[in-house]
Symmetry: C2
Subunit: 397 residues, 2 copies
């Protein structure tokens, strides 16, 4: 008998995936250039040439056993050291190689982090709107994901609801700043207040409450602002990073867990991640890609296009009267739909070949997500289409 839980999941296709498939199919009909596909968060800017050059250099020059041999189970030591140095310089925390565990992207990093700081039945809180893949990431570890309702005013944290849900059973809080899908980056005030509450409640409950910080968009911030790095404000933080967006290499599945250097047991927790790997069959990211990101971890692709696109779309949406918070980073924007049912709204948009994602599965009904990791030229062509869609479908607003 095949596993019933996974068999049942066969019917539960993600909305994003369905819409993306629709966009592809529609593109085959009318030309993909005529489908304004804002469904998928797939980086569109090219990888930096230095990354490809580094890979070729490694292939040509590295000893075969270094390049193709087993990586140590926590990651290649020299790679972990380079990443620690880079983080220390940037954020002023004394990371060493011993605080870094190499993982296959943020998904892999979160899978390890959650198993490290929870046991089956423990609760993990996250904040709406949230990335729906957190459900399988967390629930399959045996922990239970609970979602704090959104603060729709500015998409910072709804602290009132958070305090209510932060019971003794909560062992970790999973945050994501800048945020998919809202595009909002947490303010220093928000992160400080979160840290204060967690410190207070950890003491009250007699156990640590960890922050698992999902940071794939750390490098995509707007208005020349640096991310408010959660680890700087709370030592029980596990930063889960991915190079997918910063280097535009999501297919290469590379990231890491960086545990705060002053977190008690930080080094043991990194070794525990190695044990967790054995159980989930992960066993290290690809050696070649580990070595390549070690030499390019201070670079990014040219990410400026995302800010350009954001400004174009934000201005147009405001002009059209949408209720929308200006993103602080990522390549998402998260406006309120023009009717209560965001699914109905998005279905009407589809008739205009505009592919938006209704936010019900992000824990925030009534809103929709636009992923603008597409060419600026196409964004510009989309704006009059959006205007026409709004004027046609919602003439009497």
């Amino acid at each position: 008998m095949i596993n019933r839980k996974y068999r049942e999941m066969l019917n539960g296709k993600s909305v994003i995936r369905q819409l993306s498939e629709f966009a592809t199919a529609r593109g085959a009909e009318i030309g993909y250039e005529n489908v304004f596909d804002f469904s998928l968060g797939n980086p569109s800017v090219p990888v930096p040439q230095e990354f490809n050059d580094t890979m070729i250099r490694l292939i040509n020059e590295a000893a075969p056993t270094d390049l193709h041999g087993y990586s140590q189970s926590l990651g290649i030591p020299a790679v972990r050291a380079k990443i620690a140095t880079s983080l220390s310089k940037r954020f002023g925390l004394p990371y060493t190689a011993d605080h870094i565990f190499m993982a296959s992207g943020a998904a892999g990093a979160i899978a390890h982090a959650v198993r490290c700081v929870t046991e089956p039945g423990d609760e993990v809180l996250t904040f709406a709107p949230y990335f729906p893949e957190y459900n399988p990431y967390i629930n399959h570890s045996g922990a239970v994901l609970k979602v704090v309702p959104p603060n729709t005013k500015d998409f910072q944290i709804n602290f009132e609801a958070f305090r209510e849900m932060l019971t003794e059973k909560v062992m970790a809080v999973l945050i994501n700043t800048p945020n998919n899908p809202s595009g909002v980056a947490y303010s220093e005030e928000t992160v400080k207040k979160l840290a204060e509450i967690l410190t207070e409640k950890s003491e009250e409950y007699g156990h640590e409450i960890y922050i698992i910080s999902d940071e794939p968009y750390r490098e995509i911030t707007f208005d020349n602002k640096e991310i408010v790095y959660p680890s700087k404000f709370y030592k029980y933080t596990l930063s889960c990073y991915s190079f997918s967006k910063s280097l535009s290499i999501p297919g290469q599945r590379i990231g890491y867990v960086a545990i705060h250097p002053e977190c008690p047991d930080a080094k043991d927790m990194v070794v525990m991640c190695g044990q967790i790997s054995r159980g989930i069959g992960h066993n290290c990211p690809t050696a070649l890609i580990q070595l390549a990101v070690a030499d390019t971890c201070d670079l990014t692709a040219d990410l400026s296009v995302y800010e350009t696109n954001m400004n174009l779309i934000y201005d147009e949406l405001k002009d059209l009267g949408f209720e929308v918070v200006r993103p602080g980073g990522t390549f998402y924007i998260f406006p309120k739909a023009l009717e209560e049912d965001a699914k109905a709204f998005c279905e009407k948009a589809l008739k205009h070949d505009l592919v938006f994602v209704p936010a019900d599965s992000f824990g925030c009904p009534g809103y929709f997500r636009m992923a603008y990791c597409i060419e600026t030229e196409k964004v510009k062509r989309a704006l009059p289409v959006i205007r026409k869609f709004v004027e046609t479908e919602y003439p009497n607003r």
Copy 2:
């Protein structure tokens, strides 16, 4: 509170790893060339140049979004198709892309396969001697691994013990041929008898009993013999493959699950593997490496050195009077120790700078494993050292 189960595992270092670390440390003292390190199963022959050339071609020629973009969750369709074609040609079974799930090595493949065909509490049987990593691979999925005692006569299956342990709770049987650590390849007679018993018991119990076939050594067979491919004899078989040994690229973490084309629900099971990935945070092997193995999946590194080494060692061990079964493949040999306590035997060997692994953790006390994936020159130098060790430590045999 950090997870207690994984914290406790911090103390449970693998014997192989400990011995390998000893060999490295001893090598720093006396020169690694003077340590006869038969501990680690790390391929020693170089990757085929075609593999490196293919990677460079892909980096230079593929569109960045093809090369670096997200892979589909089951693997890149063209890669799955090429692997299916290769398997079909070789083994005469009608595999298509829909029967292939790309995974990060055999560890990743087994992690998916076991979750696909078992539910928590179900039993999986394997046969001693067995690869000790099966314990975390299976147990962390929620299933329970039970080990059938060895048939030390020829290291084929101990069918009597197997029949006794094959209760209604058993949902899968995990086999590994050619075998780590025995080096023995199952005969056609063995695989046929296994298939017969499973067919009979599946009917009796009213549920399928799957074979999960761990096949990283499929290409390393001796005496010009082809592997007896389990799927040819039993349609409820999930082949778990790794390119680590065939192409000498263990660091690149690439393999697949190939589900027998006539297995009911085979295609659904492949899609289920994609769902399992979401829960364990795996999300596809590296795109570059997927594309590279697709173009080189019919190649192997020059694996002939392993047979050369095996013959040298086997002949010497026989001449010294060891009880040992001649391997049919892999780069392992599995002699009986010269005293009952194989750990004591291996400790005495260490004094002669011979690093052998006692087989207690392989479920076969009294035996030891030698991994001969080292230079033939070093094997030749090791032979008189082994002779001297035996004559010194066991003079009165």
